[in-house]
Each structure stands twice: as C-alpha cells, then as structure tokens.
C-alpha cells in the first residue's frame, strides 16, 4: 500500500485536484476493506471449525440416534469437506442466504435484519451521549493545566473503565427503574423517538465506560496538540475563541479518538449482547444468546459474520473520518 500512497503524494504535489486525490484514496481504502471483510469471514469460519465438538451432535444431545445426527449434519451442509463448506456458505452469503434457523424456522438473514436496527440504535445513542460528554471533559482537563485535576480525572476514568457494565446496569435498574420508575424495566418499540424511552438507560450504562475511554485518549492528544508550535501561530493570528478551540485545539486532536471510537463501536457490538440481555431488548445480541443456548448453528454463524463485516466497515468509516478531519492521518 505504501507505493500507492507515495504515488498519490506525488500526484498531489504535481497539483492534481485535491478532491480527486481524496476520492482516489477513499476508493482504494474501500476496496481494501472489502478484502479485509472477506478475510475476516475466512478467519471466523476457520475458528468455528477449529472449535472441538460437532454442532449436530451438540444440538441433538449425546443420546441422539446416529442417523438423526447424520441427517442434521447433512442439513447443515457439514457432510462435505471444510473447503467446500466454505464455498457453499460464501456463495449463499453473496446471494443473501445464510441458511435457516434451526429453532424458529426463519431465514437467518430475516432474523438479522429485524434485530440489527435495535442494536445499532443502542450503539449510536451510546456513542452520541459519550461524545457530547467526553469532549468538554477532555477539553477542560487538558486546558486547565492543573496537576490535581488531571490526577482526579485519570483516577476516576481508570475506575470507570474497570467497572463491569452488567453490574452497573443492575444498579441502574435498581435506582432508575425500581426506585424512581424513570425507565421501563423491559420492552421495546421500534419507532423513533419512542424507542429512546427504552434505550436511554442501557445507553447511559454503556456511556460510563465509553466516556472514560474516549476522554482519556482525547485528553492525551489535546495535551500533545497544545505543545505544538502551530497553536502559537493561532494566538498570533488573533483567532476568535470558538474558531480557535475547534481548528487549533480540537480538530488536530480528534483523529486518534475517532479511530479508537470506530474500533470501540465494534467492541460494543459485543458488550451490547449483555446490555440487551439485561434490558430484554430484541437486538442482535439477544438473538445470538438464544441461538447459542439452543445450539442454533446457522444463526450463530450468520450473526458472527455480520458482526465481523460491521466491525470492518466501522473501522473503514472511522479511518475515513479521521482522514477527513486531519490529513496527517495515514489512509
């Protein structure tokens, strides 16, 4: 990829339109993401195959008739060699067919498309809250230039990163749902903005960790930015406060946070499994748990792939946004 970057750099210096350079880089990176997504699929497939045990046997139990197990293996397409299994699965994936759930007699893709929006809403809402809290905190701590404030900030965030979020969620339920009745204990409405009523508490719990992680990274990059010479030139140019804060402090510091955020949004796909289970939200995490417990092989496999692909594209958009904010970012 280096050679491509060098080429792009050279064309940029020759004075080709910047917008074209941008589009070119986005295109290259997009194609690369597709390749990574494919690769991630291969890895997930291999790992699932590497796990000891036979899914058909596991589903039917140890006491099952060998014929029944063999029949299920055939139904799951496990009777051919792994390479062929992969190509069969991949062919289906392209056609949007991931098999049929063993427990519900529904298409796996159908399950995913009903459940995914709930999860994405939860993640989106959590991220939104976190950004609006983390940025002012990080700005305040970094610009206050006070050792004590920095220490308090670091200690509090270290603690809140270490707290288990399912326990916090239970405490949240105890306080907000039971004590004050501000949040419904369970249930969900898919339409906006009614769904926020069900989402705000789980999102807030997610935010306790997320705010800590984001504000720590942002704090350290803002501190680095403040040491840079160009901030001085901003002062010299007499730039007004809001513009100064955005273009001379925040924007040059945001790239690492954005990249991290896109990664964490992937991680949150995992942690929402727990959140959804506690708050009984009909998201993809809940579907995954149900499928795991009932050994619903096609659904587990399908959801895992979707997760892998979402993670790859989160990271694509994260990198894209970081590059858009700050051209020093390698893209």
């Amino acid at each position: 990829m280096n050679t491509v970057n060098e080429k792009v750099n050279k064309t940029a210096e020759k004075g080709v339109d910047n917008r074209k350079v941008f589009a070119y880089r986005v295109g290259i990176r997009f194609i690369r993401s597709i390749a990574v997504a494919f690769w991630v699929t291969v890895i997930a497939f291999t790992l699932i195959r590497l796990a000891p045990g036979d899914p058909a046997q596991a589903r039917l139990g140890a006491a099952a008739e060998p014929e029944a197990v063999e029949a299920l293996r055939k139904q799951l397409g496990l009777d051919v060699n792994p390479l062929e299994q992969f190509f069969n699965f991949f062919r289906g994936l392209i056609k949007g067919d991931m098999g049929i759930s063993l427990q519900f007699d529904r298409e796996v893709t159908d399950i995913i498309f009903t459940a995914l929006p709930v999860t994405l809403w939860l993640i989106g809402f959590s991220v939104l809250i976190s950004i609006f809290v983390a940025i002012p905190i990080a700005l305040f701590v970094a610009t206050s230039n006070n050792v004590l404030i920095a220490y308090i900030f670091r200690s509090t965030t270290a603690i809140s990163i270490a707290l288990p979020n399912f326990f916090i969620a239970l405490l949240g339920i105890l306080i907000f749902s039971i004590r004050y009745n501000w949040a419904p204990l369970l249930g969900y409405t898919p339409s906006f903005p009614e769904n926020l009523k069900y989402l705000w508490l789980p999102a807030l719990v997610n935010a306790t960790t997320l705010v800590a992680i984001l504000s720590r990274v942002l704090y350290s990059s803002i501190s680095d930015t403040l040491k840079e010479e160009f901030v001085e030139t901003g002062v010299i140019r007499g730039i007004k406060r809001p513009r100064f804060f955005w273009f001379y402090i925040l924007k040059p510091s945001l790239a690492p946070t954005v990249v991290l955020l896109s990664y964490i949004m992937g991680v949150m796909l995992g942690t929402t499994i727990i959140m959804e289970s506690i708050f009984a939200l009909p998201g993809i995490g809940t579907e995954l748990i149900t499928a795991v417990i009932s050994r619903d092989y096609p659904t587990v496999q399908g959801i895992t792939f979707i997760f892998g692909i979402i993670v790859v594209f989160f990271s694509f958009f994260g990198d894209l946004m970081a590059y858009w904010l700050d051209r020093r970012v390698k893209f």
Binding site: V36, W39, V40, V42, I43, A44, L47, I48, L50, A51, P52, G53, P55, A58, A150, Y151, R154, S155, A158, I159, I161, A162, L163, P164, F166, F167, L170, L171, I173, L174, I178, S220, G266, V267, M268, L269, G270, T271, I273, I274, S277, I278, L288, I289, A291, V292, I293, R295, D296, Y297, V300, Q301, I303, T304, F307, G308, V311, V312, S315
Partner: protein
C-alpha cells in the same frame, strides 16, 4: 527494604497508586485463600433461612436458597481470578513467542500469512468470538480458557511483533549477530526481555478485561453456571430478587469491582511512573 526506603519509593510519581492497587489485590486474594480454608460454611451448604439480611450470623446475608453469601463470594476468588490468570497467561506466552518469531523472521511469505491471520482474529471483538465459540464448546469455565487460548494470543502477537522489530534493529542486537552469538542466545538474552516488558504491560490491562469477560459470560449463563460460586453467576442468580434482597447481587458485584479496580490502579500507577500523564 527498610521503611525509609519504602517511604521514598512511595513518593515517586505513580508508586502510591500502584501500592494502593497492589494492596487491594493482595487483600482479595488473601480472602480468597483464607475463607475457603477456615470459614465455617461451604459455598453450597444450605446453612440458614433464605433471604437473611446481612449482619448477625451471616455477615453478607444468605441467598434465595439459604446459602452463605460471604462464603460464596470468597470461594469465587480462585475461580474468577484463577481462570482469568490462566486465560491471560496462556495467550501471553503463546502470543509473545509467536510475535518474537514473527518480528525476527526474514521470510516475507511467513510474515504476510501469519500477520494477516493475526489481524483477522483481532478484527473480531473478543466477546463476540467468545459467545459464538461457546455455542460449539458448550458453556463452562474451561471453554473460556480454550477460547482465550485460541483467539487472544493474536493481540499479544501483534504487540510483541512490533516491539521485536524495533528491538532487532537496535545496534547492540546487530552487533551481537555480527559477533556470531547464536540466534537463540540473542533472543533469550536481549530480544525477549525487551518484548516481554511490553506484553506484560498489556497483560495487566488484559487481566481486567478477562476478569470482566469471565464474569460477563457467566452472567449470561455461558461460562460458570449455577450452582457454581462465581461472581457473574451469583449476580445473575440474584438479579431476580434485586428488589427485596439486593445484597445477593451487591456483595459479589462489589468483589468483582474491587478486583478490577485494584488492577486498574496498578496499570494506572505504572503509566504514571512512565510519565504518560
């Protein structure tokens, strides 16, 4: 170490935080050893009435089946922390080893293949892989260790590789090669200490993640399952009664938080020592 020396050590930046975290960690580990050895009730003995309040004969109260919560909470220590220790140390050893080999390897093909496997595994959030794989391994603490061994080495390998590449380009390593020291000796004496210091730092913060992962999976019923005394499982069991008997949930939750925070303090103190603040 004399008290005076210790005081001076505490005054260095970050050390007091490390000390706090370390004391907290030692305290919970000690409780985890002493309670199973000397406490009068076992974790699965039905010793009292259900839902007895904390205080009195049962310091932490009893749960819905009349089991002693104090006993259960501290019997969980070796399970939670012990399994987490296994779940960190296996990937640590394997990942560091693979990372060093990869960092020093000259074969471009091997590097390309293994690195892309590493990146592919790292692309998946740990919890997702864990949950998916448990579908095939079946719930249990053993499965969690297998899953961690299968997947988490990749994170260590990535860190170790990066560091190994940097170290191997250092002048003294090149000099050692030129002097004809055997490769194995160079790795053992020079490369691996440098690389491990980096991966150990990651292992500490990974320890927190793994503790939370084990408890989280148990909470979902995917790792330790009732009646096993394990914090996540206990919290999960207690949540049904959280309105009337919150102590069933709160004590194991507090123990879990305590362990995670103690480690977080150690990590935080180390980063302060290194002047990353």
């Amino acid at each position: 170490m004399s008290i005076k020396k210790f005081r001076r050590w505490l005054d260095e930046p970050g050390n007091s935080v490390i000390f706090t975290g370390f004391s907290m960690f030692v305290a919970i580990v000690l409780a985890g050893i002493l309670v199973p050895l000397f406490y009068k009730y076992g974790p699965n003995d039905f010793v009292g009435m259900p839902f007895e309040r904390p205080g009195g004969e049962f310091l932490f109260g009893t749960d819905q089946l009349g089991r002693d919560i104090l006993s259960r909470t501290f019997h969980s220590v070796y399970r939670d922390l012990g399994v987490a220790f296994l779940g960190v140390s296996i990937p640590f050893v394997v990942g560091t080893f693979i990372g060093i080999i990869l960092g020093l390897s000259k074969s471009k093909k091997i590097i390309a293949v293994i690195s892309s496997v590493i990146d592919g595994i790292n692309a998946f959030p740990l919890l997702i892989l864990a949950v998916a794989l448990i579908a095939f391994l079946g719930p249990g603490l053993g499965s969690v260790v297998i899953i961690l061994a299968l997947t988490n080495w990749a994170r260590y390998a990535r860190i170790a590789r990066t560091k190994a590449v940097v170290v191997s380009q250092q002048n003294y390593i090149e000099a050692a090669y030129t002097l004809g020291y055997p490769r194995r000796r160079i790795i053992r004496k020079h490369v691996s200490p440098n690389v491990s210091s980096e991966t150990i730092a990651y292992a500490l913060s990974d320890f927190i993640l793994v503790i939370l992962l084990i408890a989280g999976l148990s909470f979902l019923g995917l790792a330790a399952t009732p009646p096993t005394a394990e914090w996540g499982a206990m919290i999960s069991e207690g949540r049904t009664y959280i309105i009337n008997a919150p102590w069933i949930t709160l004590f194991p939750g507090a123990a879990l938080c305590w362990s995670a925070i103690s480690l977080a303090f150690i990590v935080e103190g180390i980063s302060r020592r290194e002047g990353k603040v």
